[in-house]
Symmetry: C2
Subunit: 409 residues, 2 copies
Amino acid sequence: MTMQDILQKAKAAAKKAAALTTKQKNDILLQMADALTCSAENILRANEQDLQNAQGVLPTVMLDRLRLDEKRINAMADGIRQVAALPDPVGVVLEQNCLKNGLTVQKIRVPLGVIGIIYESRPNVTSDAAALCFKSGNVCILRGGKDAYHSSKAIVDILRGVLQKAGVDENFISLPADTSRQSATQLMTAVGYVDALIPRGGKGLIQSCVENAKVPCIQTGTGICHIYVDKQADFQKALTIIHNAKTSRPSVCNAAEVCLVHQDIAQAFLPLLQEKLTNVELRLDPIAHSIIGGKQASETDFDTEFLDYILAVKVVQNAQDAIAHIGEHSTGHSDCIITEHEQTANTFVAFVDSAAVYVNASTRFTDGGEFGKGCEIGISTQKLHARGPMGLEELTSYKYIVRGNGQIR
Amino acid sequence: MTMQDILQKAKAAAKKAAALTTKQKNDILLQMADALTCSAENILRANEQDLQNAQGVLPTVMLDRLRLDEKRINAMADGIRQVAALPDPVGVVLEQNCLKNGLTVQKIRVPLGVIGIIYESRPNVTSDAAALCFKSGNVCILRGGKDAYHSSKAIVDILRGVLQKAGVDENFISLPADTSRQSATQLMTAVGYVDALIPRGGKGLIQSCVENAKVPCIQTGTGICHIYVDKQADFQKALTIIHNAKTSRPSVCNAAEVCLVHQDIAQAFLPLLQEKLTNVELRLDPIAHSIIGGKQASETDFDTEFLDYILAVKVVQNAQDAIAHIGEHSTGHSDCIITEHEQTANTFVAFVDSAAVYVNASTRFTDGGEFGKGCEIGISTQKLHARGPMGLEELTSYKYIVRGNGQIR
């Protein structure tokens, strides 16, 4: 099937997807979850092929993103089950008013329609995105990267098999075989076919979408996340949180990339930080370098999403200075302050304009699952439509239904 | 000031705008309203200049959009007072959860930031947009059309005067002097400066934004609105509603452009329609033409926003056929069914996928003021972010504030 065929079939399927009942959708989702675990071997075989192709091509942290095992497949299936268990957002009456002139105005939640997703090498995105789009009454076109193609194809084949068996349109979920740049561009410019485009991936992909998309698009994911250690920080909390935010999974967007340290505690704190992060390369600004020595930060290090065991470290004058630095260098994903001082914390959360602003907790929590959304289709770093982790509700729109008895204006 | 200067000043002003208190904003808005009525003469003088320049250049209905009088200026001032009276959306806690791990997650409403508005020849857009952006804590850049430049400039000068007198940043509201296509393009591509772009105007402007915008953009306004007269319609209601929707203000986007008539009643209804709409040119499909004669519709008439005393008329087989026609030809703005049959009405509102779907009422009600939003900054015809009339809440985003005590993942 060409992309044009896929787009046409998706558009035609959208009306049918919007009309599915909650029970129909949940039954099918549970069948999808079971089918994934039952066919785990097929998925692992396909994944092995992807891993072999990627060997020596992708860096180690990227291979980690690509690799599936039974545990991760079970997690994918559990993710789908969690989506099935969540309330159906479609049809919910968001507002209802009776106007003075007797008109009743209802605002009700409806699916977006056709959602295009462009992503890279994480095959679990395939099942997460498909489940969330399906539950929210949407049709999805999953334009995955070539690195994970075989894994994604195995997953989508299983999901479409379930749709077919259930007697509904299998075009609710599609995966174009063409993983070229051209197919991505086709999806970005499919005005009239795609109601929302969600890119998930690195800076290059996101920028390409921002540059080229002519359909409504949500900028997601790039995370240059900061942790600011205030002069009134609890050092133990600070060390534990930074260690977790940097090293628990460095390849993901909610991992910390930059640590800012208040000048009054830098002398005491930085040696402890160095000691805690033995497997992390610290890239130090001149003041931090004068205190603990080591590798000096280059100019670009405070604007880089390392996605690796690297942390840029800078000494700042105070919380205002930290807020200003974050305002200039953050991608608006997740930023954190470690402090025991309530007022400083309040100032920080008021003036840091990011999707998630933390006080004394790891930035790694910015995640649909952690935020109670079941799973997520991406983390928006723009302000229009949705911000932060996007779950079911963020995949819907609404319409107004106005009922009258001959009213005119 | 160049557009680049304006963008930089706007971005710097955004943080200050977000920090204004509700009282500060309301006091300033009331002063703005008073200042507009007090300086009505200045505005009318500037408007006269615009009207003279437009004489013989713009068609009559466009001159109507451009023309101001004391009544319209008072309406603008009242619009601002209504905005002042509305609740402040900023800072509202939308959700609050305590997670099992002890984290508290708050979702709070925040301003979008810098809003770019590109519009054409309606000077009242200037004051509406400025008031709504200001109340919602946003900074606005009002790129008005050259036809209304003097009127808009007079209005913005008054508003900025009030800001200056109040001791706050006058760059909360700006109007570029450059009304060239290039300045519009600069605004559309100001990535990193503009958080949301809202075009208000005709098809050409909207398409240009969809094609060229690299900043998040909301498609607004083009309205090919349909009224379907069902076989179980009350003819009197149908005639009154169509007359109102077509002729009360034909130059606006919520005016009806197409009338679909059930075949079973066409013979009886069409002569009455013709009689009622004496000042409207009917463009008839072959069946309607065979019944009442007159001007035949061309191929494009069912895809044209006439914005004039013209109505395309088509006879359809049944409600399904009407829904299908609307699905194919509507711009997703406002569509209406006239019927006394509840089930047919329910099917229509369920399957017509437009921002506002009406039963037995004029499409002219699709309006922020009518919907209780005070006034409006535009009517979204896309599904992402906002749909239908956009008021204060639609000019905001949200952020998550997560407070912990050392939690890690």
